[in-house]
């Protein structure tokens, strides 16, 4: 009886580990697809259109790098949103 119990415990643990590995594998495949198709295609299209997502051009030495923000003064309603 003890052997059966030990076996079933080990089996459940192994099965759980297998499930986690499968989940990680499936996630990786899905995320890779999203990365290549979603992020990749959008990125390439935007590059063709000359759009930049991060300001990294080096030409502005010596000039002010402050950017207008004007944050504040919003009401309570604006803070229910996660964006």
């Amino acid at each position: 009886m003890r052997c059966v119990w030990a076996f079933s415990e080990g089996f459940m643990e192994g099965f759980r580990g297998f499930g986690e590995n499968m989940s990680a594998l499936v996630n990786s495949i899905l995320l890779s697809a999203v990365y290549l198709l979603g992020v990749g295609m959008t990125s390439l299209y935007m590059r063709l259109k000359g759009k930049k997502f991060l300001e990294m051009d080096k030409g502005k030495r010596g000039q002010s790098h402050w950017v207008e923000l004007n944050l504040g003064g919003k009401g309570l309603d604006d803070h229910y949103k996660m964006f």
Binding site: S32, S43, L44, K58, W66, E68, L69, Y80
Partner: protein
């Protein structure tokens, strides 16, 4: 009314609770879970805050979160768009936590039992509020500088009454905090954990910018304009698309591969540390001076993780036009939990400010009965003192006799520093004490200095500090030179450049701690102690009696003064263990 502020998921998760405008409780999650810089949802810290207020989650009126998750997600996706396909690995690594946790923060908060309104405030606004709304100033200029929030890495503005307006920003990837972290990583230290070690190391390097060649090299990397704004050449960095921070180009510029942890620190490492400190101070000084010119305000508050750079903080009033400064004790992301709660209460809900944050003792405390129950249940040998005065006398005498004393009294501190509630105290006059503490107790690198604690009345005698003494010194946020004639008398707290990161204590803040310092002064002639955090390297500061006892028994701490009890390590040999083998960053 109760407002709970929460910060989590990046580093230093924390919770803070404001009741009718008063800060009732605040704590970092790491102290409860014993995982340093714990990033997880702070359920233990929340539980503590609710318990301290005597309410349940369902009785909260508002819960506020310290940033706008979707705006941050937009920035992260923008990084991947910009850096495709180099960012593939980090995309795979980071997306699961975004999809499972970070974008679902509302449902996580609901699981605590709270069903009311959840508010979201921008990250840098949370930092700004944590400093301005908790400060004594009716009006102040505000500067926030950190790694990155949603898009902002640096902002400035002005606060008046309960309103805050952040006027300008510098946007990711240009970040003073991430620059400092990149150099921290290059020098072989852990990021978001050991930046203060680089700060301490910088004093060993060449501090004259004319003579420090690494300063000239870093000026190629960072362009600092006259108004303090800065722009970084991202060819030298990889953090915007990879797990590693310095790029190969930066490594080549600085003369080699990053230093591996625990390998020997050479002169060039010290000079590089000095260079990044000089660059940071240069940018901060110019920013703050520009801020003064824009706002014409005499008061300044600073927030964000870079505000923990106490070496620079000690220079603010001397090198900029501002007359007064206040900094949130937990200026990093943990402090944003106080900021978001305060912003919600005062700014969004329109309540007036009537006081300010005068203490960092906001965590849990343990009663005499609870401590006694712990000691008795473990069969620990101890002495009991009938009066606090007797315990104070005895502690001062033990320290004078070169014992290392663990001090566990009152409410736990808020913020990264131990301030006399969960502290290790020892004799600064003993020239061997720095070595004893570094090797036997803290298991730290040899170059790291220890910090002095002094009463606010005695501070001007021993330190070249700004007068009147700024309140941030109460929270060990300012480094000042120790007056030359005292340096040889207190060698254990005098850093290589003659400075000390002092804590000043006022009697009304912590009477027992104040009295220990005074009694020690009466015995030794020097009313200064070493105050270092009560923890083993790699672990958070102790929280519970069990943590304190365990720390003592695993290190060279001689005795522990906990509530009304004194416990000697040598009296309890059966519980000893060696922490050195497990000590790590």
């Amino acid at each position: 009314m109760h407002v709970l502020g929460i910060s989590c998921y990046y580093h230093d998760s924390a919770a803070a609770l404001i009741r009718d405008g008063e800060l009732v409780a605040a704590a970092e999650e790491e102290r409860f879970t014993r995982v340093k810089h714990d990033t997880s949802f702070p359920k233990n810290a929340i539980e503590y805050c609710l318990k301290e207020a005597g309410i349940s989650a369902s009785e909260l009126d508002y819960v506020s979160f310290y940033e706008k998750p979707f705006v941050k997600f937009e920035r992260v996706i923008s990084q991947h768009m910009q850096c495709f396909p180099r960012s593939y690995k980090t995309f795979l690594k980071s997306m699961p936590s975004w999809l499972r946790q970070k974008l679902r923060i509302q449902s996580t908060i609901r699981k605590t039992g709270f069903n009311g309104d959840i508010l979201f405030v921008e990250h840098h606004m949370s930092h700004a509020a944590g400093s301005f709304l908790m400060s004594p100033f009716e009006k102040a200029a505000i500067l926030t500088v950190d790694g990155v929030g949603e898009w902002s890495t640096t902002t400035y503005g002005v606060g008046e009454g309960t309103s805050i307006r952040l006027m300008k920003e510098i946007r990711f990837p240009h970040s003073l905090g991430l620059l400092y972290s990149t150099i921290t990583a290059y020098l072989g230290f852990s990021v978001n954990n050991s930046e203060y070690k680089v700060m301490g190391l910088s004093a060993y390097g060449e501090t004259d910018p004319e003579k420090n060649r690494y300063y000239r090299m870093l000026k190629e990397v960072v362009d600092i304009a006259d108004d303090g704004s800065f722009f970084m050449d991202m060819d030298y960095f990889k953090y915007h698309y990879a797990d590693r921070m310095p790029s190969d180009k930066l490594c080549a510029l600085l003369g080699g591969e990053p230093r591996s942890p625990d390998s020997e620190l050479k002169e060039r490492h010290k000079d590089i540390a000095a260079a990044v400190q000089i660059i940071t101070e240069e940018a901060m000084t110019k920013m703050i001076t520009h801020l003064y010119n824009v706002t014409k305000c005499d008061n300044l508050v600073v927030g964000g993780g870079v505000a923990l750079n106490s070496v620079f903080n000690g220079k603010i009033l001397g090198s900029t036009p501002f007359k007064r400064v206040w900094i949130q004790p937990a200026a990093g992301d943990a402090g944003a939990s106080i900021g978001v709660a305060a912003y919600s209460w005062f700014t969004l809900l329109g309540h007036k400010r009537s006081s300010y944050q005068k203490t960092a003792y906001l965590g849990p405390e343990y009663s005499r009965e609870q401590v006694k129950e712990f000691l008795d249940s473990k069969g620990i040998s101890y002495s009991e003192f009938k009066s606090k005065d007797e315990l104070v006398e005895k502690t001062a005498k033990l320290i004078f006799e070169d014992n290392v004393v663990g001090w566990f009294q009152g409410r736990m501190e808020w913020g990264p520093r131990a301030l006399g509630s969960r502290s290790i105290l020892s004799n600064p006059c003993n020239p061997k004490m720095q070595e004893i503490l570094n090797l036997k107790v803290k298991h730290r690198e040899k170059f790291r200095p220890f910090a002095p604690v002094v009463t606010v009345e005695d501070a001007p005698t021993y330190f070249e500090c700004d007068m009147p003494i700024p309140e941030p010194t109460d929270y060990m946020l300012m480094v000042y030179p120790i007056k030359r004639k005292w340096r040889e008398r207190i060698p254990a707290v005098t850093h290589v450049d003659g400075s000390g990161r002092l804590q000043t204590v006022r009697r009304e803040q912590n009477p027992m701690y104040y009295d220990v310092i005074r009694k020690f002064g009466a015995l030794s002639g020097i009313p200064i102690l070493i105050n270092t955090s009560f923890n083993i390297r790699g672990e958070p500061i102790v929280c519970k009696p069990h943590d304190a006892y365990r720390c003592m028994m695993g290190t060279g701490i001689d005795c522990l003064a906990m509530s009304d009890f004194l416990i000697f390590r040598k009296d309890n040999p059966s519980h000893m263990w060696d922490s050195e083998s497990t000590a790590k960053d």
